[in-house]
Structures are given as structure tokens and as C-alpha cells.
């Protein structure tokens, strides 16, 4: 079927801010689809509230709206742009829900517009629990016994009829929000009532528990003519019970015979056919491990995290093909871009094995429960490709960058057999290490399997790795042993540790014995056809097929690895733009990265893609083959920066700012010298190594002080200490991971935080704009609301900021990007942090100023000057609108995590509010972040003593909007003394009704709770905040955020103005 020519203008809905369960995969899918639509001559209107995405670039879509993803906003965009079609299947659950609402509310009809890629009926049949169940029953596809309930009583009654445990799945939520397994009535009531509230339609599915069955997924595609294919199947190593996003996953399935494989494949195809999906779809199955019995767990009628993984695992571009299908093409008309010879109507065949590991945020949320359940907790993931499973596992492990590069973990070796047996029962992110230790301790496969339900095949593979550890530790290192260790991807570092040799000695032995990495191609067809797209992975013991190309100058772009808190999608934006800019300048580009969710790992971004861990050894393998003329590290976040030294040792020139200068910004003493030389003040501080030194330093500086390790990202481990006990605790936490670098202790200064991104060509600087944080210093910049242009500083301060930026950039010999954070206190400007690299705010500031600073930085790195690029150096003219970046958190997914903001970053994503006025921009930003008020007009205020002054005005203003204010005794008295009618409510330990009852009654809109500083935070506050978050109540922990929110509520406008970013 040829293209449907009535489709001329398409509105593509993005997925909004990055939250747990909805990450970069939708930027990848959306970007690929938009490019594919534009290739077909279709005009693309894009809406997404997330400014850090590539899809919101003006070269990706024709009209770009970085606006809140709400139905009224979408209606306004449709009314203005008049698209003939809306494509909702690329924006995750958020996009699909919006598409559905647009249809249900008659908005599409009103504007003579239609959904493409899916239909409201399809969405409903796949997403509505009851309709889905009926559909499955109609085509005889089994689902677990289940009932959709709308109240707790029905849930209890049904569960009593099928027996505990039961799985609870709220309808229309993403990442399994609010779901869980209930083993008894108490748990059932808790999870069910929470789930009912979180579900958009107030429905929760209560389902027979099939935990322990094999979890198998199929990615399938269907076109408008009814042709169906399977792209890939995947087997979760963690059986049913752990969310697939938190599971270790292997593709293709390893323990299924052809009978099981085809049975589930046929089922998946029957389902996609019955649902009449046109595009991609993900079907999750539970397969009984000891029979052919299976159940359909879930169907996602859209592109998903799994489809991004399947695309990268096979080379089959699901989103691109889905976009072409939406335009009317059939699978046999769409060419396979990898082979160029075949068509999209075939099934990829792998001749390798892919292993995905989730990246969990427990390093950031040390208090959070590490238990893995049906509710997703991972912020990102890594993928590794190898021609054996063991190798894939080892590569994926080290790609995580969690200081672990083998199955040897912490002090597990010292645990007793009984302790290990007990630990095996815990389903958390460390289970794989516990299994390895269990094998070391001689616990039988059968026992491990009985406890974990993990298939024996995988346990044996872990055993093979453990046996190799033991062989390396006990046997002479022969050529055969070393070759075998490398075949299963033991890094030289681990081999060195186990054999008692140095890494260098191992490398020399490898050179002597000719044991080197070879690269194989991902070609979708197991070498059956010759492929043209250079997408490679490394293996040992095989023939190399990556050709070292020459001719053009060659640049290595190092990606940023898995998405984690502090290093998100923004660095992928930077890496991709840098790659494009190098390409434009005539360079051959090579990307190295391991994150399957990203645009940078799409096979057609760079000239060559190496899907590899970002460790020195893995990168060196590529360097030895490719011999690049240089490497860029300043765009890939801390992951890439950490490789600088290793790259220099390999003889690869670092393009742009030199490694010494990067180091100078991180090394306290060097940096202090530079500041002194530039005559720039900074809060006084000291470097220490021990706890005693830290306490001494704190006394010298005076409390409060900031304590943090150097060379980290996202303020990891950074804390404000107010006494010696805090210092002891924080240093203890920091030192849990061996520190190669000193710990920094700084005087904590309360002031306005200002952030600047600049491009420097070694001489001149270009500052696209100055950003101001709404929250005062002490809250991590990534968690602060950021305002462009800065509005509360005067021209003189601005001039000082520009001058300091210029001095610092020149002193550090910056070539490329630099990010500086300042504190302005009492009219004085202090520097608090300098990063001579790209930052989190780069995409945001680029988009709102229209100045493509990554491209400019890349040109500067190549040798152009800012003037040659057509820019006048210095601070650029301010835009005539405000753009506000709002952090977005995923606290509701992380049980036990403290949500109070501080110097350590906690947000997972961000959204933008852009408007002519500050108030409207702020309002948009809050809406974009999902804070839609008022609802019940009731709020709770409890603040620490130091905030009592300032809260009065805020409370008064909320009162003026009609809010009923509840407070505990101290705050209530203070407010009443100041004329605010605050109602007193009991503290937690007091009788009901107390604060908690109020929250659990679902009538509270908002909690303002500012916790006292230091380690000893009130346990009450923690409980209040957690309960509020888990019942879906907005919680603000900074007085400044509260002030911003009330300002935005006071200036609420019905009709928002729209700004097309593409016109900036």
C-alpha cells in the first residue's frame, strides 16, 4: 500500500520530562520517527515539555512547542497549527493517554484531525483492563485470573476467591506506578488504595500471582494491510515479579525451545492482529517454567523502552518503521536501512547475544528500599553485545559505572553460607552478586534455583564466570587461560587483580600472545546479507570485520553511558549535536556508548557506532583499531571526562580543553591558585582526606559547611553539615567507596545561585544567557528551578559574572564549553563550581536563546573563533520572554527515599515553561511538572525555625486564594500570631486525627515542609513527606519553591500563549 497522501501535517506528541519508567527511549523513538516523517515530505509539529530532548530541536521538526503536555495546551496547538493527523504512539504512556483524551473529548473531530499509528479503540482494548481481558478471551489467549476493581472491598472479595498472593496493576499508569504484590490483606489494602488513586480512571487489576514464571517479551510490528512480523524476543533473567525495566534481560531468549518460542510468537502476532495495531507493539508473557502454560501479562500498543532495546539489540529501527506504517506504507515497501537489500518485512536474526542491565538509583537514595518489585525503579539501563552470554554479562556489568567490573562484590566473600542463603531470598539489585557468591560457597544450582526461580542455564553461566575467577586465582596464567578469560570478557584489571599481576603485565601478555579484541557487525541478518551500516561490538577470539577507514580526519565522541540521576539525557543531546557538527565539518565520526535508550546509539547518527562499555580498556580496543585523530570528552558528562587521562596515555589527543585544565578545575589547590590569579572570590574551603581533618576544617571555616567528594557528578555525596556528628556520618558514607581524590569541605553560603554556560575559543567567550535559580544555594542546581534571563540581579552583577566567566575560561584555556556556578550574596559574586565541559543546562539554554552552543563549541574545538562563527563575543542580547526550567522528580517510585532537597541531586528530569511574562512561564513550568492546583484547597505547612519569618507571607497569600492551612503547633502558633488563620493539627505521635490522617484522607493539595539541616532530620518530617508523595500529594521542601508556586497560582491564566521554538 503506498503512502497515504492525505497526511501532510502531523502533530507528534512527546513523552515529557524524564521520570522513572519513561526515559530517553522516547526521545530516541520520537527523533527517529520525526526524521522519518520529514524524509517523506510530511510537515511535523512537535510538542514535548522536555527541553533536554533532541526531538525538540528545530532541525528535527518544523514547528516545535516546548509546552506543558495537557489537553488544553494540545488543543491550542492543534487550533493554531491545524495538523491533519496526530501521532501519539511515540510519546510513551503519556503521549498515548493524551492522544486518547484528545479523541475522547472530541477535540480531534472538532479540528478535523485524526489519530494515526493507532485508534482510540485500539488504545482502549490494550490499556483498559476489562476490555483487554475480554479481547484476550475472545482470541483464546490466556491471561491470569483477574478482576478489575474500583474499590478496595471488591479487591478483597476477589482475592479471597483466588487466594493470595495477588498482583495489583493500576490502569493507565507508567512504569507500573502504584502496583505491587500483596501477600496478605494488610498489604492488599495498602497497595490497592494507593493504586486506585494513581490510576487515571480509578481502576486496578487484581490478578493471580504468577511470580516465578519465566518472563518473556516479544516486539512485534503490524502494518495497515495486516502483515505482521516479530522484531525480537527477550527473556528476563529475573522471573515474573520484577518489573522488566528492573530486570536483567537477554535477547534473544536462551532457554526456550522452538516449540515455546513459536507458541509465544504466534500468540503475540495474534494479539497485535486482533488489536489492529498499525506500528509497533510489545507483548509480555509469563511462561510456566515446567509446562507450556502461559499468560499474557501486558500489551503496550506503542513504542516502549523494550522496543528501543529491541531496536538496538537487532538493528531494526522500530520507531522509524512505525512512522512509515502510520503514513500508510506496508512492511514489504519499507527498505531495511541496515542491509539496504532487504525490506522491513523480515525478522532479524541475531548471531550474538545481548544483555541489558538496569541502572538503579540506590547510590543516590541510600535510604530507599532496594527491593525490586513490579514497580519500576531504574532510571536507565545499559546494553552489551557479545557472542557469548557470559561476555555480555561482564560487559554490561562494567558499563553500569558502579565501581564493579566483575561478579566479586563488596564483602560478600566474608559472609557465611547461611547468610548468603538468606540474602538469596532478597530480590534486589545485588542478587546477581549473591548468586555468584552462593556458587563460590558451593551452594547447589538446584537450591539457588529453588530460591530465586532463575533458570539453571543462567546460574550455570554465572558459575562459568566464577570458575574463571577461581582458575585465574589458582592456576598459572597460560595463553589458553587468558584467551578464555578474555573470550568471556574479563577485563584486564580484574585478571590482574586475580592473578596478582599488574594491568600492564596482562596487556603485554595479550600483545605477546596475540589476544586482542575484534569487532563484529550488527547487521539484522546473521551475516546472510552484506550490510552497509557500521554498527559494531567487540569480541575476543574472532576475526575482525570493522574496517579501519581512512581519508577523512577521524574523531572519537565518547557518550555518557546509562541515564542516572545527575547525568541524564542532556549529555546525549550534547554528544549527538557534537557528532553532527563534526560530521558537517568533514570529519569521520565515531560514537562509543552503551545506552540503548539514546539517540546517540542510533546507527545513523555517527559514521560508526561502537556499542561498548566506556572503560579505558574497552575504549583502547577501539582506539587501537581506528587510530582516531582526536577524541572529544567534554560532551559526554562525567563518564567521558573520566576517560580523559586514559585516552591521553593511549596517545589520543583530547580535542578542546586539555586534560590538565579539566583537572585544574577539579583539583582544589590548582583551582584555588587560578581563582587567586584571576582575583575571583570563592567561599573558603579546604581539602581533607580523613574525618578528623574534616572536623578540623569545619571548625576553622565555621558551620554550616558543605562536604563532598571531588570528581563526582550531580553533587553525589554532597551534604550540608551543621555539626561534628554530621561530618562523621557524611565522611563515612563518602568513604564507602574508596576515594582516589580528596574530600572537599567548604563554607556554606546562603545566597542567590547563578549559572552560566559559555563557549570559549581560547580568547573570547560567548555567553548565550545567564540563568538564575529560584532556590537559594544549598539545593543542587539540577533540582532548582532555573530562570532565564536572570531577573533579580542588576547590570553591575551581570557585568561581574561575564568578566569572571571570561577570566576563568581564559585561565583554564577553555576551548569549547564551560559551565560556572556562582553565588551572589550581598552584592558580591563568588564562584562555587566550574566545569570545563557541557552541562545539564546546555540543551535548555540553546533552545531558549536559539544559539546552538554545542555546534559552536564543536566549531571552536575544530579551530574556528567565535567571531568567525558570526557572533559578537560576550553576553548575548536577552530574549524578550522568560524560559523556566523546572526539575521533575520520581519520588513516588522509590519507597523509602527522602524527598527533601539538598546539595545532592535527586531529580530525574525537567520540563520547560516559556512565555512572555515571568508569571506565565512559571505557571507553565509548574503545570508541565504535573503540579495542577488547586483541587481541594487544603494544605499543610510545617517549617523549620529559620523559615518561620518567610513562611508568613507565603501562607497569607495561599489563604487569600482560599486555602485552608493546617499546621503543627509551632508553625500554627507563629502563623496565627501573624494573622494567618492556621488550623492546628496533631503531630504524628499524637492522637488521631493527626497530620498523617489528614494526608491519607486525600483532601490535601500541598505540603510545605522544610526539614532542618544536617544529618539528624526529624523522622516525623520524613514520614509526612513520604506519605504525601505516595498518596500523590505535592510536597515542597524549599521555601523558595513555595514562593514561586504561590506566585504562579496567583497569576493563573486560562489561555496560555504558545511559543514556537523553531522561530527563535
Amino acid at each position: 500500500m503506498p503512502k497515504d497522501n492525505s497526511i501532510k501535517k502531523v502533530l507528534v506528541i512527546g513523552s515529557g520530562p524524564i521520570v522513572i519508567g519513561q526515559a530517553a527511549e522516547f526521545d530516541y523513538a520520537g527523533t527517529q520517527a520525526c526524521r522519518s516523517l520529514k524524509d517523506e515530505g510530511v510537515s511535523v509539529v512537535l510538542v514535548n515539555s522536555n527541553p533536554a530532548t533532541i526531538m525538540t530541536d528545530k532541525n528535527i521538526a518544523d514547528n516545535v512547542y516546548i509546552e506543558p503536555l495537557t489537553v488544553p495546551v494540545l488543543e491550542q496547538i492543534i487550533a493554531k497549527e491545524r495538523p491533519d493527523s496526530v501521532l501519539p504512539t511515540l510519546g510513551g504512556q503519556a503521549g498515548l493517554n493524551l492522544g486518547m483524551e484528545l479523541a475522547e473529548k472530541g477535540i480531534l473531530e472538532k479540528y478535523n484531525c485524526r489519530l494515526i499509528g493507532t485508534t482510540p479503540e485500539t488504545i482502549k482494548r490494550a490499556e483498559d483492563r476489562l476490555e483487554f481481558k475480554n479481547t484476550m478471551e475472545k482470541i483464546h489467549e490466556p491471561v491470569a485470573a483477574s478482576l478489575v476493581v474500583e474499590n478496595v472491598e471488591d479487591g478483597i472479595a476477589f482475592t479471597n476467591s483466588i487466594g493470595y498472593p495477588v498482583v495489583l496493576r493500576p490502569a493507565y499508569t507508567l512504569g507500573g506506578s502504584g502496583g505491587g504484590i500483596a501477600h496478605n490483606e494488610e498489604e492488599l489494602v495498602e497497595i490497592l488504595s494507593n493504586g486506585l488513586r494513581l490510576s487515571r480512571v480509578g481502576q486496578v487489576l487484581v490478578e493471580r500471582c504468577i511470580a516465578g514464571w519465566k518472563e518473556i517479551e516479544y516486539e512485534v510490528m503490524r502494518d495497515g494491510a495486516g502483515n505482521v512480523i516479530t522484531v525480537c524476543n527477550m527473556e528476563n533473567i529475573d522471573p515474573v515479579g520484577v518489573h522488566t525495566g528492573d530486570s536483567i534481560v537477554v535477547a534473544p531468549s536462551q532457554t526456550l525451545g522452538d516449540k515455546e518460542y513459536q507458541m509465544l510468537r504466534t500468540s503475540a502476532l495474534n494479539i497485535i492482529s486482533e488489536l489492529k495495531i498499525t506500528g509497533g507493539c510489545n507483548v509480555q508473557f509469563a511462561l510456566h517454567p515446567e509446562s507450556f502454560e502461559y499468560c499474557v501479562i501486558e500489551v503496550n500498543p506503542r513504542v516502549s523502552r523494550s522496543s528501543a532495546l529491541a531496536s538496538k539489540a537487532t538493528g531494526y529501527p522500530i520507531a522509524k518503521v512505525a512512522a512509515k506504517i502510520a503514513l500508510g506504507y506496508t512492511l514489504d515497501e519499507i527498505p531495511n536501512a541496515i542491509t539496504g537489500k532487504t525490506f522491513a518485512s523480515f525478522e532479524p536474526m541475531l548471531d550474538y547475544c545481548v544483555v541489558k542491565f538496569p541502572r538503579l538509583p540506590f547510590d543516590k537514595f541510600i535510604q530507599a528500599k532496594r527491593t525490586l518489585t513490579t514497580q519500576m525503579k531504574a532510571t536507565g539501563e545499559v546494553m552489551a553485545i557479545c557472542n557469548n552470554f557470559e561476555g555480555g554479562l561482564m560487559k554490561a556489568l562494567r558499563s553500569l559505572e558502579q565501581h564493579v567490573d566483575s561478579l566479586i562484590y563488596e564483602d560478600y566473600g566474608t559472609k557465611s553460607k547461611d547468610e548468603i542463603l538468606e540474602m538469596l531470598e532478597r530480590v534486589d539489585d545485588r542478587r546477581i552478586f549473591v548468586i555468584a557468591e552462593a556458587i563460590r560457597k558451593g551452594i547447589s544450582y538446584e537450591t539457588i534455583h529453588e530460591i530465586t526461580k532463575i533458570d539453571i542455564w543462567f546460574i550455570d553461566k554465572i558459575a562459568i564466570l566464577v570458575e574463571m575467577e577461581q582458575a585465574l586465582a589458582s592456576q598459572p596464567l597460560t595463553k589458553e587461560l587468558l584467551a578464555e578469560a578474555k573470550r568471556i570478557e574479563f577485563p584486564d584489571k580484574v585478571i590482574a587483580q586475580l592473578t596478582g599481576k599488574t594491568e600492564k603485565e596482562i596487556k603485554n601478555l595479550r600483545t605477546e600472545w596475540g589476544i586482542s579484541a575484534a569487532f563484529k557487525m550488527v547487521d539484522t541478518c546473521a551475516a546472510e546479507f552484506s550490510a552497509t551500516t557500521p554498527y559494531y561490538y567487540s569480541v575476543f577470539g574472532s576475526e575482525n570485520e570493522a574496517e579501519e577507514t581512512s581519508g577523512r580526519k577521524k574523531v572519537l565522541v565518547l557518550g555518557s553511558g546509562p541515564i542516572r540521576i545527575g547525568q541524564g539525557i542532556e549529555f546525549d543531546f550534547c554528544s549527538v549535536h557534537c557528532t553532527w557538527a563534526f560530521s558537517k565539518a568533514g570529519y569521520e565520526t565515531i560514537i562509543v556508548n552503551n545506552n540503548p535508550e539514546t539517540v546517540s546509539t542510533d546507527f545513523d547518527i555517527a559514521d560508526k557506532l561502537y556499542f561498548e562499555p566506556l572503560t579505558p580498556e574497552d575504549v583502547e580496543n577501539i582506539v587501537e583499531l581506528e587510530k582516531p585523530d582526536g577524541a572529544v570528552v567534554q560532551f559526554g558528562g562525567q563518564t567521558a571526562i573520566k576517560l580523559t587521562e586514559a585516552l591521553m596515555k593511549m596517545g589520543v589527543p583530547i580535542l578542546g580543553t586539555s586534560a590538565e585544565d579539566v583537572d585544574a578545575a577539579e583539583d582544589r589547590e590548582l583551582f584555588d591558585a587560578i581563582l587567586e590569579q584571576c582575583e575571583i572570590p570563592r567561599p573558603s574551603g579546604l581539602t581533607v582526606f580523613t574525618c578528623e581533618e574534616a572536623i578540623e576544617a569545619a571548625h576553622k571555616l565555621g558551620y554550616p559547611v558543605l562536604v563532598r567528594p571531588s570528581y563526582v557528578l550531580g553533587g553525589q555525596g554532597m551534604q550540608i553539615a551543621i555539626n561534628d556528628n554530621d561530618i562523621t556520618e557524611f565522611i563515612g558514607i563518602i568513604n564507602r567507596i574508596a576515594q582516589e581524590h580528596p574530600i572537599l569541605v567548604d563554607k556554606y553560603m546562603m545566597g542567590k545561585e547563578i549559572e552560566v554556560d559559555a563557549v570559549c575559543d581560547g580568547e573570547d567567550i560567548l555567553i548565550p544567557g545567564i540563568m538564575e535559580h529560584i532556590e537559594r544555594a544549598g539545593i543542587h542546581s539540577g533540582d532548582s528551578i532555573s530562570v532565564y534571563p536572570a531577573k533579580s540581579i542588576d547590570e553591575q552583577v551581570k557585568a561581574t559574572l561575564v568578566e569572571y566567566t571570561r577570566r576563568l575560561a581564559r585561565a583554564l584555556h577553555v576551548k569549547g564549553l564551560i559551565n560556572i556556578q556562582f553565588i551572589v550574596a550581598d552584592g558580591q559574586v563568588y564562584v562555587i563550581e566550574v566545569n570545563p565541559r557541557s552541562s545539564r543546562t546546555v540543551p535548555y539554554i540553546s533552545k531558549v536563546t536559539g544559539i546552538p552552543i554545542v555546534d559552536l563549541a564543536t566549531e571552536v574545538i575544530i579551530g574556528k573563533t567565535i567571531r568567525e562563527l558570526g557572533y559578537e563575543p560576550g553576553l548575548q542580547k536577552e530574549a524578550d520572554y522568560y524560559a523556566i526550567k523546572m526539575p521533575v522528580f520520581s519520588f513516588e517510585k522509590l519507597r523509602g527515599a527522602d524527598i527533601a532537597l539538598g546539595p545532592e541531586m535527586k531529580s530525574t528530569g525537567e520540563c520547560l515553561g516559556i512565555a512572555k511574562t515571568f508569571n506565565e512561564a512559571l505557571y507553565k513550568a509548574f503545570i508541565g511538572a504535573g503540579i495542577q492546583l488547586p483541587k481541594h484547597k487544603k494544605m499543610i505547612i510545617t517549617v523549620r525555625d529559620t523559615d518561620k519569618e518567610e513562611i508568613v507571607d507565603i501562607a497569607r497569600r495561599f489563604e487569600a486564594l482560599g486555602y485552608e492551612i493546617y499546621s503543627t503547633v509551632g508553625t500554627a502558633k507563629h502563623l496565627r500570631d501573624n494573622g494567618v488563620n492556621a488550623r492546628h493539627v496533631n503531630k504524628l505521635e499524637q492522637d488521631s486525627p493527626n497530620l498523617l490522617d489528614l494526608i491519607l484522607d486525600h483532601h490535601i493539595d500541598l505540603v510545605i515542609d522544610t526539614p532542618s539541616q544536617g544529618a539528624v532530620r526529624s523522622h516525623d518530617g520524613f514520614i509526612i513527606r513520604r506519605n504525601a508523595i505516595e498518596t500523590g500529594v505535592n510536597v515542597l521542601t524549599s521555601i523558595d519553591t513555595a514562593k514561586a508556586l504561590i506566585t504562579s497560582l496567583e497569576n493563573r491564566e486560562e489561555d496560555l500563549t504558545l511559543i514556537d521554538i523553531a522561530t527563535i
Partner: protein, 385 residues
């Protein structure tokens, strides 16, 4: 199912107990060599039995279904390379066998799983190779080998554990080798019947995969399986409702006697459905030609387009020869299916006849079941006759 359950339990325990032993065995495996007729030599470890074998080397891209591949008689006279690197993961489940034994002359894999795991597993692939007297080689770069076969075309090779092999002696022998007489080798020698209450189908066994008969039998047919060299008269005399021509190995043109018989069957009005070799033989019987493809189609991911409906189906395939539609008399037959990847013929519809034939395998096993509807079409054809 419960029987398998217990069988598996016992097996697993023994596997776990023996695993140190298995590991040792892996290390002590003998070196083995795969020598190709163009002089390439791959060094790996011997698996299966220790004997030298010369065969035609072909690759199969299926990711599951190694047992079905091994027991597909169409591989007689060939040594099979599996492009998927991890083979033997779920062991051997005998009910999945497509014939009574394994047929390839040799078996080539990247890695043989040291323990199998599946609830139906009854043994290891290694033991199965030994039981079927098949030599093999593991641990070689199967992707590099596949690329050679793809670029140079299917070629002959030798698997040996003799470290002192002499290329000057071996290469001429390799060039000489030709797959012949394989249909006779794989076909049954005696007639047998799968009882059924419905239509009577005569199945000519040129090396039939058992799921062809099973697919018909499951649809109620009584299937009588005849040896490949059964005279047409005997089949016609049995008065079947339809005739099924099976898949099978080798060069179709070599089967001159069978082609003669099929000509006679064509001239009756008995509905005929043919798969793979059967499809090629029917084409030859009606004056068309076949030719040998560069490296054939072997795997479970081949898209075929039904030219009548425009629908594309993913099919299971295993063939090295193909019908040359350039030579097709449009009065006799017209293409019914075409391969979406390379445009080669995948099926023919015979004019004014109740005959249709396909190159691919609607009986699947291994591979997708998407084209199973063709058996229903055959049943309809027989009913409406």
C-alpha cells in the same frame, strides 16, 4: 506434561552433579578442523563423534530449533553451520524430532552449551550427535565462515580431527564431492498410515519432515506415507482425496524417475499440494527448470509474499535450489508466492488444476507457523473437488 516434569527433575539433578565432570571434558576436547574447498581452515574443538567427513557446508540462521534442523531429512548430504552462537541450551526433546534420526553429515557451532535446561529436556545435544554418529566442530568463528559462504557461495568442506591433514590431498577431494542419491537415502522404504477419520491424503516421502503429515493428520486427514519411488499408478489406484509432495534433500533434477511419476499425477485431477523439493519436482515435471542458488535460504525469517492477496508471511525455509520462473510456461502455472528479499520464486499456482506448490515450509518446525493456513487451503481444495 507431568511425566516430563519428573523426567526433568531427575535429569537436572544428574546434570548438576556431573557438571564439574562436564567442564573437564570441555577442556580436554580434541582439536578439530574445518577445511573448505577454497583452502580456508578453521580450527576448533571436536564435538560429536571422531570421524572425518566431507560434505556440502550450508548455514542456517534459526535462533531456536536446532533439533528440528538436525532431524530435517533435507539436510542429508550437507554439514550445517548454525549462525546463532549458543546452541544446545535446552538440550534434546525427542518429541520435537522431525524424523527418526539426524541427517546432516556434520554439525558446526560456535558454542555448545555445557548444560541444557528445559522442562522437557531428555539429554544433551552432544550425546545426540554421538548417538547419530555425527562429527562436528565447535568454537570456530561461525560468522566469519558464514560470510565466506555468503560471498563465495555454498561450498564443500571437511571436518577432521587429524592435525596432520594435507591440503594438497584434501582440496581436490573436496572439489569433487557432490551430493547425490540422497532422496533414496532419506525416504521411507515401506508404506505406512497415520489413521484419521477425514480426507485421505497420499504423502510422497522424499525426506518428509514429520510435521507435514502431522499437520494434515491434526486436521483430520488419514495420511498414507509412500516411499519416494512409489509408481504413480499405485498412488492413483489408492484413490486418495489429495496428494502431498514432501520436502527433501539434494538436486531436484537428479530425481528423473520421480519426476516421471509426478507427471502422471499431474495428469490426474487429484488435488496436489507440494512443499520445497516437492514443489521443485512438480515444476520440473511440467517442463520448468530449477537452478542452484548461491547459498540458498535456510532459516526461519524469510518473508514471502502471497501474490494473490499481497500479504507477506514470515516463513521457515531450507532449500539450495529454486524454480526458475523465467522458464515457466504461463499456460501451465503462475507464480503464487515470491521472496520479498531477493525476488526468487516461493510458490506456484497451476492453471486449470487443483495444484499449488510452495518453496517454503508451512509445517514450520523449526520456525514461524504463519503459513499453516496453506494446509487448510489444501483441505478446502480436496473438499471442493
Amino acid at each position: 506434561m507431568f511425566v516430563f516434569f519428573f523426567a526433568r527433575r531427575r535429569h537436572r539433578e544428574s546434570v548438576a552433579a556431573n557438571f564439574i565432570h562436564i567442564r573437564k571434558e570441555m577442556v580436554e576436547r580434541m582439536k578439530a578442523f574445518l577445511i573448505l574447498e577454497d583452502g580456508h581452515v578453521f580450527t576448533g574443538k571436536g564435538i560429536g563423534v571422531d570421524k572425518d567427513v566431507i560434505s556440502e557446508i550450508v548455514f542456517n540462521t534459526s535462533m531456536t530449533g536446532y533439533l528440528e534442523v538436525l532431524t530435517d531429512p533435507s539436510y542429508a548430504g550437507q554439514a550445517v553451520v548454525m549462525t546463532y552462537p549458543l546452541i544446545g541450551n535446552y538440550g534434546i526433546c525427542r518429541e520435537d524430532m522431525e524424523s527418526k534420526r539426524a541427517w546432516p553429515d556434520g554439525y558446526i557451532v560456535r558454542e555448545l552449551s555445557r548444560i541444557p535446561s528445559n522442562f522437557r529436556c531428555e539429554g544433551t545435544l552432544e550425546d545426540f550427535l554421538v548417538e547419530n554418529d555425527i562429527p562436528g566442530i565447535a568454537g570456530i568463528d561461525t560468522r566469519a565462515l558464514t560470510k565466506i559462504l555468503r560471498e563465495s557461495g555454498t561450498m564443500n568442506g571437511m571436518i577432521t580431527r587429524n592435525e596432520n591433514y594435507n591440503l594438497d590431498e584434501i582440496l581436490p577431494k573436496l572439489k569433487e564431492y557432490k551430493v547425490t542419491g540422497v532422496v533414496k537415502k532419506v525416504s521411507c522404504t515401506e508404506k505406512s498410515v497415520l489413521p484419521g477419520e477425514g480426507l485421505k491424503v497420499a504423502l510422497l516421502d522424499f525426506g518428509a519432515k514429520s510435521n507435514i503429515a502431522d499437520s494434515l493428520n491434526q486436521r483430520g486427514c488419514e495420511v498414507t506415507i509412500y516411499p519416494a519411488d512409489t509408481p504413480a499408478e499405485e498412488i492413483i489406484a489408492a484413490n486418495p482425496d489429495g496428494i502431498m509432495l514432501s520436502n527433501g534433500p539434494g538436486d531436484p533434477a537428479e530425481n528423473t524417475y520421480i519426476i516421471e511419476q509426478i507427471k502422471k499425477l499431474y495428469n490426474t485431477d487429484i488435488p496436489i499440494f507440494a512443499i520445497c523439493l516437492g514443489h521443485q519436482l512438480m515444476a520440473l515435471a511440467t517442463g520448468c527448470k530449477t537452478y542452484k542458488m548461491k547459498y540458498g535460504h535456510r532459516g526461519g525469517n524469510h518473508p514471502v509474499k502471497d501474490l494473490q492477496t499481497g500479504r507477506v508471511y514470515i516463513s521457515s525455509q531450507n532449500h539450495g535450489y529454486v524454480v526458475d520462473t523465467e522458464q515457466l510456461d504461463p499456460e501451465i502455472a503462475e507464480p503464487a508466492f515470491v521472496n520479498v528479499n531477493d525476488g526468487t520464486n516461493e510458490g506456484l499456482a497451476y492453471k486449470n488444476k487443483n495444484i499449488f506448490t510452495v518453496q517454503f515450509h508451512p509445517e514450520a518446525c523449526p520456525g514461524p507457523q504463519d503459513s499453516g493456513y496453506l494446509f487448510d487451503r489444501f483441505i478446502n481444495m480436496m473438499q471442493n473437488r
